[in-house]
Amino acid sequence: MDRQGNVSLRGVAVAYGPVRVFDRLDLEVAQSEFLVLLGPSGCGKSTLLNAIAGLTEIDDGEIWIGGRNVTWHEPKDRGIAMVFQSYALYPRMNVRANLSFGLRVARTPRAEIERRVRVAAEMLQIGDLLDRRPAELSGGQRQRVAIGRALVRDAGVFLFDEPLSNLDAQLRSELRVEIKRLHQRLGATMIYVTHDQIEALTLADRIAVMKDRTFQQIGTPQEIYLRPVNRFVATFVGSPAMNFVPGRIEGAGAPVFRSASLRLPVPGYKFAHAPADGAPVELGIRPEHIILAPDASDAQEVSVEMSEPMGSDLLAWTRLGDLPLSIRLPAETMLTPGDRLRILLPENRLNLFDATNGARL
């Protein structure tokens, strides 16, 4: 079977009893694409993944995988494989049995089972663990086995449900790389659910940011990071978080952002739709986009309250008037509380959001 893997959701709705979880969601995932569903817990991302897998019944709409309408198919018949947060390994079976159980049930020829297990074990470097039981494995090893179990299914689409959430930071980054490598080797479509924006940014071809059971923004990591469509996406993605300055937009022809302590002309800002004169807005800028400019005439002055060395760089917590502002600086910068800095907020890095509904302007 050719492993076709484009996934398409068309008007999918899910309800638990009278409570609508989703209303008519649409999503297209291309063949070989790595799509991350990102959002805080309770945003519905896992439910959506379960709906794709067929583990949750949908109430309306269609699900297409690999060009087939699989809306009414059993999970096993959808051409998918899945990896879970708790690994969901079969506890009393050894690793080999865990990997091969589904295949044995499907009456795959013995030689084929062995081949696939070998390939998967090799790919994940778990060859020497095959005779152990899950209880005898570390967390990272368990998750490798869980991924291996998905691998042997030889599916066109891989679904990951927060696979790294139960691991410590070190292992998480290791396995992240592993998964990325796997994606490149297999060329399979992957849909990956996480609440961790680093994972999303590092892994994804495209990210779908979810909140309150709707898509906020679907786009490449750059788009999401640089041009968040609303204040929520802007806050949720990026660490440390974006700085926000409340204020107003004035002047129709040459717009100027104005707040209590800041006056910033934004003539070149690409407005999605122009705001009314004097409309309340919020200006957002990421800490790493703020530039130190001791000599610039139009620079703003901020006072340093505290500095956090991060190793590779340094985070300065400052105040602009009464407003907190964090600035990412080179690691070797020497700061003491009370220092005053002069900074520039580059116009091409600015984000303006409607203060009433949070939408990008």
Partner: protein
């Protein structure tokens, strides 16, 4: 540990300790001592060595009782486990009226064995119960007379006991099933593993604790089996459904043969200890604080 806490610990255990020493060990010690005497209706102190035991070893009723309890125990535990697990597994499939069904399966456990035995005795009596119903429906060939057939009667005890206990097993299993990681079920569905294989090869091995608890509870009622035999068959027909506890009781009181009764009780005691001691040892060699 602070002195106060240690004192409190001992204080807290005092009732249990007192009960264990006086009620349990005292009674057991007395029983063992009497089994070496020639006591008849009243306890005596004439030592006769192992005479009661040798007469027990050739006592046909005792041997039948032992054989019966073995058959009963194995069948009852196996069937109660299987039926209880099946009911739990089926009820767990998001069926309608789940809570009603659960109560229906569980209520027999609230009945005493006496009532259980009485009810089943009626149902199984060939001239009153199910067989008669069959005949009244025109099924003249229908026979369900195991209650009055010596070679089959023990299975009717199993039937009644399973009726009594399957609901409890179901409750224990249901609790165990609810504790299974829901993602395991998802993995099973994605892997396309049929339900029965998933239960047999994945879930059952996961529920070792539930099974252990159920087996212990069932085994306790096997060792204590008495009321049911009395109420349902009174050991009959003949001595076909006699059980050890009934042997002890009958000889202790009705037959005025306290020596033989205590010898039988001591034999039961030793058997239980012999089975339990290695289990307990094994249990406590495991890392500390693992529940039984």
């Amino acid at each position: 540990m602070r002195i106060g806490s240690r004192l409190s610990t001992h204080l807290a255990l005092a009732p249990a300790l007192l009960i264990a020493l006086v009620a349990y060990c005292g009674a057991m010690g007395w029983t063992i001592w009497i089994s070496f005497t020639n006591s008849r209706m009243l306890p005596s102190s004439v030592f006769v060595g192992l005479r009661q035991y040798s007469s027990l070893a050739t006592n046909e009723r005792w041997l039948t009782s032992v054989q019966n309890i073995a058959i009963f125990g194995l069948l009852f535990i196996a069937m109660a486990l299987v039926l209880g697990f099946m009911l739990a597994a089926l009820i767990d499939q998001r069926v309608r009226a789940e809570s009603l069904l659960r109560s229906v399966f569980l209520y027999p456990f609230s009945m005493s064995f006496i009532v259980t035995g009485l009810a089943w005795r009626w149902l199984l009596d060939p001239t009153l119960g199910i067989e008669k119903v069959g005949h009244d429906l025109g099924l003249a060939w229908f026979r369900f007379d195991w209650l009055v057939r010596p070679e089959r009667v023990i299975y009717t005890l199993v039937l009644a006991a399973v009726w009594h206990a399957a609901g409890l097993v179901m409750a224990i299993m249901l609790a165990g099933l609810r504790g299974v990681d829901p993602e395991i079920w998802k993995a099973v569905r994605v892997d396309g593993i049929p339900a029965w294989r998933a239960y047999l090869f994945i879930v059952v091995p996961l529920m070792r604790g539930s099974f252990a608890t159920a087996v212990i509870l069932l085994a306790v009622s096997v060792a204590r089996l008495y009321d049911l035999s009395v109420a349902m068959t009174n050991g009959g027909p003949g001595i076909a459904s006699e059980v050890p506890a009934k042997f002890v009781m009958d000889h202790l009181f009705e037959r005025g043969n306290v020596g033989l009764a205590t010898a039988a009780a001591t034999t039961m005691l030793i058997t239980v200890a012999a089975v339990l001691a290695p289990l307990m040892y094994w249990q406590y060699r495991q890392p500390a604080r693992r529940p039984l």
